[in-house]
Amino acid sequence: MKAKYDVVVIGSGPAGLAAAVEAKKTGAEDVLLIERATELGGILQQCIHNGFGVEILKKDLPGPAYAQRFIDEAAQAGVELLLDAMVLDVTPAKHVYAISQWSGFAEIDARALVLAMGARERTRAQIRVPGARPAGVYTAGMAQRFVNIEGYMPGNRFVILGSGDIGMIMARRLTLEGAKVERVLEIMPFLTGLTRNYVQCLLDYDIPLQLSHTVNRIIGRSRVEAIEAVRVDEKWQPLAGTEEIIPCDTLLLSVGLIPENELSKKAGVLLDPVTNGPFVDEGMQTNVPGIFAAGNVVHIYDLVDWVTEAGFVAGRSAAKYAIAERQWMARQVKLRAGENVRYVVPHVLEKESLAQADQKLQMRVIKPIEGNVWVQVMDGENLIVRKGQRYARPGEMVTVEIPQKAYAAVQKVDQLSVRVVAR
């Protein structure tokens, strides 16, 4: 792993994969993709249902197959990977601190950074479901991971709260695995997921959906034994007399996603209070120059195809930013303090400035020399220009000019040092 990359992408779900691939294709020299899990793909790996890629690939693929295309592309493009790694902090200067058993504590500099951390599920605490707190209450995505990747069934009789896509897809999935889904409850008076999922996940399997209904309380001591469903009015207030006890052993919550922006905040990225994601421009750049964001970290999508597109935009912008920064750096000469010099102002010099005029450097010496001195501007051991003085003292500023005739010599270097030594 290198200390500095053109583009660093945090998160390897659909947005991060697309951003990393596109950054490389746009001309970024090196791209590092950091992922918390042990493999790439993010939540797509547990979304084993089909329906991915219809819009941009014109193919109807399962989630893992959709991810696999971009995983393969990333490998071909030469994207570097840091898996099983946790990013701890990101600074506004695009300095990334990460930790993993492979890299230990790693500090990585990014010329451009793409935030692609996705989202988290709303939990019971965030929707304040009253009642006991027994085992058997899961978010739908958690249950999806148990069933589709780890091979555990979280229960036998389910009630699902929320008619979002994950909830409806899990209703079908659990039914196919032999469970009974008693009910899907939706607090809104309309379906919140896609209509096609209502048809192929609920109607196909005779799973009843009740709109304008929610969970009034959870019943059960050590394990969920039942839930009490209730009809709500247009202000989500429970209507007395409409309560119904539904026996079940598991309650799944499919009640929305929240963009995951803890790292964004640390990097000084401003968030839109409506989306809970960063404010972005058309290139997916945040308010912090060189920090970009894409996917559910910006706002919650309903189709992965559009997440991939957003990732492409962010990856392209990030690569262009990094390339421009490198080109800008290539036009600059750093001015370093050499022997007996404490500092030099200016710190950098635009190479082209010598086409216009001589450039004056100002500095202070570290220790006095009472006697003839040379003030020398050096390219390593090669002298660019020198000036003689009768003495040098820390209390008196020293100056030297790089003349226009040094133009050609300065074009070849990326740094110069200045020293003040006895003659």
């Binding site: 790996q45 084993i48 893992p64 091979g151 196909d204």
Partner: protein, 123 residues
């Protein structure tokens, strides 16, 4: 048999158009409400031979995960879905697996193969 109108929601793409299908038994005389040519095709199939893509998992030995996600290469007849998932419970593969690899050939004599949805490396 009298002509009747049935509302069918097309599931071919995320648009989810509501199709108004006028038909006499399984013979369609008119489809309305679609926004592309897939709509009438779907309505025809839904009345005569409804089919669905099915995705599930099979067991894998020695892989990074205990399960491999799989999918039907093409939609299969709806009445066969539960027979299919029952059959898939009996399947066990060994890692490594490549995406697109045939897991079950011509499943339940449908002419449709079951394919691996991803690469699965050995643990």
């Amino acid at each position: 048999m009298a002509e009747e109108t049935t509302k069918i929601i097309c599931i071919t793409c995320p648009m989810g158009c509501t199709l108004e299908v006028t038909h006499e038994g399984k013979t369609i005389s008119k489809v309305e409400g679609h926004t592309c040519k897939k709509g009438p095709e779907y309505a025809e199939a839904e009345l005569t031979d409804p089919r669905r893509m099915v995705t599930s998992t099979v067991k894998v030995k020695g892989g990074v995960h205990p399960l491999l996600p799989v999918f039907t290469a093409a939609p299969i007849p709806k009445p066969l879905i539960f027979d299919l998932v029952k059959l898939l419970r009996q399947v066990e593969l060994e890692a490594p697996v490549k995406v697109g690899q045939v897991v079950v050939h011509n499943v339940l004599d449908t002419g449709v193969d079951i394919l691996a949805s991803r690469d699965l490396l050995p643990s």
